[in-house]
């Protein structure tokens, strides 16, 4: 009884943090207190105040507005990355896991090769070939994320394809496609869902890392990573810049982690 309660505590805290963050992100799409790229020479390095909740950066741009916008960018990039990874990963994993045989061998060995590279490194190679920018980062990270999802889904499919209900469905003449997507896939959801959450967190951190290295979102656009990179040059004149930006990354990741944790156990 008690354990159950503790589990849901993770879930509740995760849910609260995530909801607040999502609210801020959605808010950022429609409204920011200031134009996030609007410069104001009188507000250079302004301290946090009622007017500027998180203060201003070296161009007098409102950090709160930039954080809202930056979170949105980071979120969208992470989301797109995960979508690419999950959709391709599920397809590859489902087909290889369900059919097995030489196709499985070949695809999974390729998968292993991609998996063997750290995702950031892979993305860096991709970026150096195709150039910097938001969309290339999404594509690069998305591709790098495919193998992990493919593996998980494949494992599940191997487990389920020998189950009796699948066998009987097959005997009843149900098409392979229907078995894959209607009979088996829903059963993999619990495992898939928590790995999506973790994958999302990794994507947030990867985007932040890439933008921090200056190859993600290009100025004057903001993302949490690029803002953190900018902020490190002004740690003393505007400590709030780095602190608030870092805090947002932590909260975003923490919220989803707790949520994933809660979902898995709950």
């Amino acid at each position: 009884m008690q354990t159950k309660k503790k589990h849901s505590l993770n879930l509740i805290i995760g849910l609260i943090i995530t909801c607040i963050m999502l609210f801020l992100i959605i808010l950022g799409f429609f409204y920011t207190p200031y134009d996030p790229t609007k410069m104001d020479s009188s507000a250079k390095f302004a301290a946090p105040s009622i007017k500027h909740l998180m203060g201003c950066d070296n161009f007098g741009r409102d950090i709160f507005s930039r954080v809202l916008k930056g979170m949105g960018n980071t979120f969208v990039i992470a989301l797109a990355t995960v979508v690419i990874g999950v959709v391709s990963g599920v397809l590859i994993g489902a087909v290889t896991g369900y059919f097995g045989g030489w196709l499985d061998e070949v695809v999974m060995r390729i998968n292993d090769v991609v998996f063997a590279f750290p995702s950031i490194l892979l993305a860096l190679v991709f970026i150096s070939l195709f150039g910097t920018g938001k969309y290339n980062v999404v594509l690069a990270l998305g591709i790098a994320f495919i193998p992990s999802f493919a593996r998980i889904v494949r494992g599940e499919f191997i487990k389920y394809r020998e189950m009796d209900y699948v066998k009987s469905a097959r005997l009843a003449g149900v098409s392979h496609l229907r078995i894959i997507f209607v009979h088996i896939l829903p059963n993999t959801m619990t495992v898939l869902l928590s790995s999506i959450m973790i994958g999302f967190n990794n994507a947030v951190l990867a985007e932040a890392g890439m933008s921090y290295l200056g190859i993600g979102v290009q100025p004057p656009d903001a993302s949490l990573g690029s803002m953190l990179s900018e902020a490190q040059g002004y740690l003393f004149s505007a400590p709030g810049y780095a602190v608030f930006t870092g805090l947002m990354i932590i909260l975003l990741v923490l919220g989803f982690s707790l949520l994933a944790d809660g979902l898995k156990k709950g």
């Binding site: 354990t3 410069m39 932590i250």
Partner: protein, 538 residues
């Protein structure tokens, strides 16, 4: 059970924090670690040095060293191929020409000890300096000088390395102290060009300077680690006043955001050209010296691509810019706005009035855009080198200012090496924000690149009027009519402004951040870092 859950959450939280620090701090972290041992050794065995003039010998004997942060790796160690100003300003310490500039803008004898010019200005007779040696210990001979000049002039076959040297007809060495250079046409700027880095005197018996950089300068090359560092050491047999500090470590800081961390953390002792915001960030252990960068910062437009092939569009971009605002944002108002490819240090060539041709006028800019067929504005991408914070900041302010006329300016940060190959070399760009500097204080150093046929005309500027004016200036120089030449050069500048070749912004203020342990930094009227004048102050 309860406790364990708690623990799990804690472990999760801590590991997440760790991941963050590793993912985001990894890059800056190891940069700072690498050189942490260097700063401690600098001042230990020096007694206090009060008067720099006579205390040098003391400091010289010690293992004094300084680590200087540079924004990019040297693109070549061969003076003939060093085409980035950031490389040339360093090579200034290793190589010397027959003459060399000093911090007041004078040209002083270096490898030569003097020269005489014939009446008609065609024959220059140089005397080789007595006892001058190369870094490899060999004495400099007239054969070396002849070899170097002929190489630069393309007399041994091949293209001339220095286009102005194609004016050289012959180089003779009548005895082992004398070099006679004969020109095809007289030139009032010949000595100035002899004082550039490209015209360095190098040994005739070293085939590959890239592998074995040997010059006559106050510092000799020791080692280089690509994209990371270059080490220079004092040349003890230097003919002139020797350098004070024994070892100069140059550390590549390709990431502009890392400059403050490196200075504060003690990984580097000096960075020339920090921004005002970065300077404000530095603590008491640093002196901030202020000078000018001696370049023309601007948004350089590829005149061959749409829509910048349209003069009206270029003019609109000029009218939309508020230079003072840029200065306020990027450098707290420091710097000198300029209106053409010439900066104030040039004195007689500089035309202050060109700065007033395009005063900020949003309405006028919009009209011009409409006239050019871009009433709804347009979108373009500026490639900006990611290692120069000033240019990144300027680009961001420009992007903001262009919103007022409906023009969307995207910024793409690229590595310096990519900038050199793609923008400067392949001319594959729409616009770029950089500074263009001069290798000599001759007008040609700034203006020759805009001739339609110039190999370094990276903006693809093509204007027959300009070409004519420039040729006239050269002809005037050939008959040593300096006033006339100046007139024509000014005409060139005016054409550049009137046709809005580029969006000219400013000659930036140069803020040098130097640890208080060191002193003696000297500003040059050119893009030069002279390490030989630095000394240990404590």
């Amino acid at each position: 059970m309860t406790k364990r859950e708690h623990k799990n959450a804690k472990v999760l939280f801590v590991s997440m924090l760790l991941t963050l620090t590793i993912a985001l701090g990894g890059c800056a972290g190891d940069k700072a670690d690498g050189d942490s041992t260097q700063d401690a050794t600098v001042s230990t065995d020096e007694s206090s040095v009060s008067a720099p003039t006579n205390a040098q010998e003391e400091a010289d004997s010690a293992d004094s060293q300084i680590t200087v942060g540079i924004p990019q790796d040297l693109n070549s160690l061969d003076p003939n191929y060093a085409n980035g100003s950031g490389t040339q300003e360093i090579l200034f310490n290793i190589y010397e020409g027959l003459y060399k500039p000093d911090s007041d803008g004078n040209l002083n004898p270096a490898v030569a000890s003097g020269y005489t010019m014939s009446e008609d200005g065609l024959v220059y007779t140089f005397t080789l300096r007595d006892g001058i040696k190369f870094h490899n210990g060999n004495p400099v001979t007239v054969a070396d000088v002849k070899y170097s000049i002929e190489k630069c002039a393309g007399l041994n076959g091949g293209e001339p390395v220095i286009s102005a040297f194609s004016n050289i007809a012959s180089v003779e060495t009548p005895d082992d102290k004398t070099i006679v250079v004969t020109l095809k046409e007289a030139s009032s700027v010949f000595i100035a060009i002899c004082a550039t880095i490209e015209a360095a005197i190098v040994p005739a018996d070293v085939a590959d300077l890239e592998a074995e950089p040997v010059g006559t300068g106050p510092y000799k090359f020791v080692s280089r680690s690509l994209q990371e560092s270059v080490v220079l050491e004092r040349f003890d047999d230097y003919w002139g006043e020797p350098a004070h500090i024994k070892t100069v470590n140059l550390k590549v800081l390709a990431d502009a955001d890392a400059i403050v961390m490196n200075l504060e953390g003690g990984a580097v002792d000096m960075v020339a050209r920090v921004t005002t915001a970065q300077a404000a960030e530095l603590g008491d252990e640093f002196n901030i010296l202020e000078g000018t960068m001696n370049l023309v910062q601007g948004m350089y437009l590829n005149n061959a691509v749409e829509p910048f092939d349209n003069e009206l569009v270029r003019k609109a971009l000029c009218y939309a810019v508020n230079k003072q605002e840029i200065l306020d944002f990027v450098s707290d108002g420091k710097g000198t706005p300029v209106g053409s490819s010439m900066f104030p240090t040039f004195g007689k060539y500089y035309m202050d009035e060109l700065n007033d041709v395009y005063t900020t006028d949003i309405e006028k800019a919009k009209e011009l855009l409409a006239e050019a067929g871009y009433a709804d504005g347009f979108e373009f991408t500026a490639k900006v080198p990611s290692n120069y914070q000033q240019h990144i900041d300027t680009a961001q302010v420009l992007a903001e200012q262009y919103k007022a006329i409906g023009v969307t300016m995207n910024i793409e940060l690229i590595e310096w090496e990519t900038w050199l190959s793609d923008v400067y070399g392949a001319r594959d760009f729409e616009a770029t924000v950089v500074g263009v500097d001069a290798s000599t204080l001759t007008a040609g150093a700034m203006l020759s690149r805009f001739q339609s046929t110039a190999s370094n005309n990276f903006i693809n500027y093509g204007n027959p009027d300009y070409d004519t004016a420039y040729k006239n200036a050269l002809s005037a120089e050939a008959v040593l009519d300096d006033d006339m030449a100046t007139q024509y050069y000014k005409e060139c500048e005016t054409i550049l402004t009137d046709t809005a070749a580029n969006v000219y912004i400013q000659d930036m203020c140069e803020l040098v951040a130097i640890n208080k342990k060191y002193a003696g930094y000297e500003f040059y009227p050119l893009y030069i870092q002279d390490f030989s004048k630095l000394y240990v102050a404590e």
